[in-house]
Amino acid sequence: MSDAVQQFHDRAQAKVDDVSHRKKIRWAIDTYEKAVLRGRARFADWEAARQRCYEIRWEAINHLDRYLEQFEENVSKRGGKVFWAADAEQACTYVAKLAEARGVKSIVKSKSMVCEEIHLNSVLESKGFKVWETDLGEYIVQLRKEPPYHIVTPAMHLSRADIAELFRKEIPEDVKGETHEELVAAARRALRRAFFSAEMGISGANFLVAETGMIALSTNEGNGRLCTSIPRIHVVVTGIEKIIARTQDLAVLWPVLAAAGTGQNLTAYSTLIGGPRSNREIDGPEEFHVVLLDNGRSKLLADTEQRDLLQCIRCGACLNACPVYRNIGGHAYATTYQGPIGSALTPNLRGLAEFQHLSYASSLCGNCSSVCPVKIDIAEHLLQNRRNAVNQGQRPRAEEIGMRLWRWTMMDERRFAIIGTMAKIVVRTFGALATYPLKPWSRKRELPEMPKASFRQMWRKHGRQQQR
C-alpha cells in the first residue's frame, strides 16, 4: 500500500472511531436533509429542474471556448481585467503582485473553493499580507488553521462549545456570551473592522455570465457583498468551467443551487457583479480583476466521457448524501473537494497515480448521482476512474494477478468446481489464516463455517429431482 493510501485509511479509521465526531455530523446532515426536502417540494417538478440545469451546464461546457471569449470581452467593456492562469502558481503570483503593486496591506475574502484549491491564503500570508476569511464557517476554520471540512458548511465538524472555546482564545474582546447568536455577533464585530480597513476584497464566483461579463455570487451572511463593495480592489478567483451563457439561466440555477445546497428558496443575497464602479455610481471598487484558472480543467474537458464533471455547481448535496462521507468526514480525504464529487474529480485534476484510491472510497450505492442537481452520474465516474487506473497499469501487481486468476477460474465450470474444492480444503486446514490476503476485509469479519456439502453437490442431489 502506498503512503497516500495508508494515510487515507488511517485518517478515515480515526474518524470512524470518533463517536462525538459522528454525532455532530449526523446532526448537521439530518438537519440539512429536512431542509432540502422542504426546498425541493417548492418546485412543481424537481426532476424537470434538474434536467434544465443539466442542459444549461451541458451547453456552456460543450461550447466553453466561445463563452469564455464572450465573457472576457464583456468584462473588458466594463473596465475590468481578465487574467488567465494555467496553474495555481500563476494565479497566486498574479494576485500577490497586484496586491503588492497597489500597496495593499490587508485583504478580506469571501468563501471560494478555488482559492482553497490554489492555497492562495498561504501564498499571500507568506508575502506579509493579512488575510481575513469572512464567511463565518471559513473564519472559524481559518482561526483553527484547518482546511474547510465541507464545501458548503466549512465548520460542520464543530459544536457550539468548540467554537465558543476557539473565540474565547482568539477574539476574547469581541465575545460577550456563548449562545449561537452571541458567537455570530462576536465574529461580526471582529470582521466588521476588517471589512472597513481592507484595501482588497477577494471572492470566488458561483457562475460567470458570458452575455454580460458579470459574476454571479450567492451569499447568505452578506460577507460576499461587503467584500465586493467596500475595498477599493475586487479580485475574483474562479475556474474556467463556471461559465453560463445567459442571465436567464439563473432563473433556474439560482433556486436549484439554493435548494440543493441548504434547502432555501433563494440564497439571501443572489448577486450579479461586473466591473469596477462606473462614473455615475457612488461606491464600489475602483478595480475589478477576474482570474480564470485552468489547473487541469482543460485536460478533463478533452475527455468526453468524464467532461460532465465540469458541470458541477458545488452545491455539496453529494457530500451530504454519501454514506462514506458521513462516516469518515471531510478532512479524511485531504483534498480541496471532498466526498463523491471530490473522489471523482481529484484523480482527474491531480492525477490517478496519487489520488485513484479516492475512487475506491465508495460503496457505489449511487445516492450521489441521484441527488446531483445537474445530473452528473458521479458513481459512474468513480467506476471509470477505477477502470482507467487498471488500464494504465496503475494497480498493484498482486491485484492484477489475483483478478486474472479469478477470471480464469470463472470462465470454465469444471475449473470453478476444482478450484472451489481446493479452496475449501485450504480454509478447513488453515482456518482464518487462509483469508490473510484479504486482510483489510477479514480483519473485522469472521469467516462463516464451511457447509458440509457445496451448492453444486446439493443441486445434484435435490435440484434436479424437483425439476422433473
Binding site: 448537521a28 412543481a44 424537470a48 461546457i61 498574479y94 458567537l183 447568505n220 463593495s229 439571501a268
Partner: protein, 219 residues
C-alpha cells in the same frame, strides 16, 4: 509592473487553444422526452404572494395607500431605531419624505458618499420585487449604490406595487435589461443570516438583521 499592462492576459492563448481542441468533440447529451413546468404558475394576487414569501424570509412588509402614509410608516420605523445617522438614497421623492420621517437624525445622502459604517439604517428604492420568492431586486445605479443594502443593520425599501414581477423568469429578464447600466444587480431574499454553527439559523450575520419593505399601492 506586469499586472497593469493591458496585454498581459497570462496563459490566455494556451488555455483557449486547449479548450478549443477539447470541445471539437461534443460530449453525448442525456435526452429527456417531456419538458414539464419547473415552477407552479402564480395564480394568486402578486401582493399577497409577495407578502407570504417575504414573511417566510424574515422580511417585514408594510402596505400603504399613499405617499403620506408611506412617509409616516418610514417615520415610525426610523423612530424605533437606536440613536445614530441614517443613510438615504438621494431622490426627490425620498428627500421629501425625509423632512418628516427622520426627525433630528443626521441623514447621509447617497449623492455625498457611500454608506457610512456607523449608519443605523439605509433607506432606498428598489428595481423590482419578485412575488414568487419574496425577493427585492436592487442595483448599484438606482438603489443607493452597492453597499447601501448591506452595511447598515436595518434596510428600509420604499417600493410601489406596480414594481412587482411574478417570478424569477421575469426578474432575470429585468436583470438582463439593466445589466449593462450597473456594476451590481442583486436579489435580496431575506435578512443577512448564517447556519454555520450547528446548522442553527441565526438572523443578522454581517448584513442587516431587519429588512422592511414599505409597499405603496400604485395609483
Amino acid at each position: 509592473m506586469a499586472v497593469s499592462s493591458s496585454d498581459d492576459r497570462g496563459a490566455r492563448e494556451q488555455i483557449l487553444a486547449n479548450v478549443r481542441s477539447a470541445v471539437k468533440k461534443i460530449a453525448p447529451r442525456k435526452q429527456v422526452a417531456v419538458a414539464r413546468p419547473i415552477f407552479s404558475a402564480i395564480e394568486e394576487d402578486l401582493v399577497a404572494r409577495f407578502r407570504t414569501e417575504a414573511a417566510a424570509n424574515y422580511i417585514e412588509v408594510m402596505l400603504t395607500e399613499n405617499t403620506n402614509e408611506t412617509a409616516d410608516t418610514l417615520r415610525k420605523i426610523v423612530e424605533s431605531l437606536p440613536a445614530g445617522e441614517v443613510f438615504m438614497q438621494d431622490t426627490s421623492e425620498l428627500r421629501a419624505m425625509a423632512a418628516t420621517a427622520t426627525g433630528e437624525r443626521v441623514v447621509q445622502w447617497s449623492s455625498d458618499s457611500g454608506p457610512p459604517e456607523a449608519s443605523q439604517a439605509a433607506v432606498s428604492r428598489c428595481e423590482a420585487l419578485v412575488a414568487m420568492t419574496g425577493s427585492i431586486m436592487v442595483s448599484s445605479g438606482n438603489c443607493g449604490g452597492r453597499g447601501a443594502s448591506v452595511v447598515a443593520p436595518c434596510h428600509i425599501v420604499i417600493a410601489s406595487s406596480d414594481q412587482l414581477l411574478p417570478d424569477l423568469e421575469s426578474a432575470m429578464a429585468r436583470a438582463r435589461e439593466i445589466a449593462f447600466d450597473n456594476s451590481f444587480v442583486g436579489l435580496i431574499t431575506g435578512c443577512s443570516r448564517t447556519s454555520d454553527i450547528e446548522k442553527l439559523l441565526v438572523i443578522g450575520a454581517h448584513g442587516p438583521r431587519q429588512v422592511v419593505v414599505i409597499l405603496q399601492a400604485s395609483s
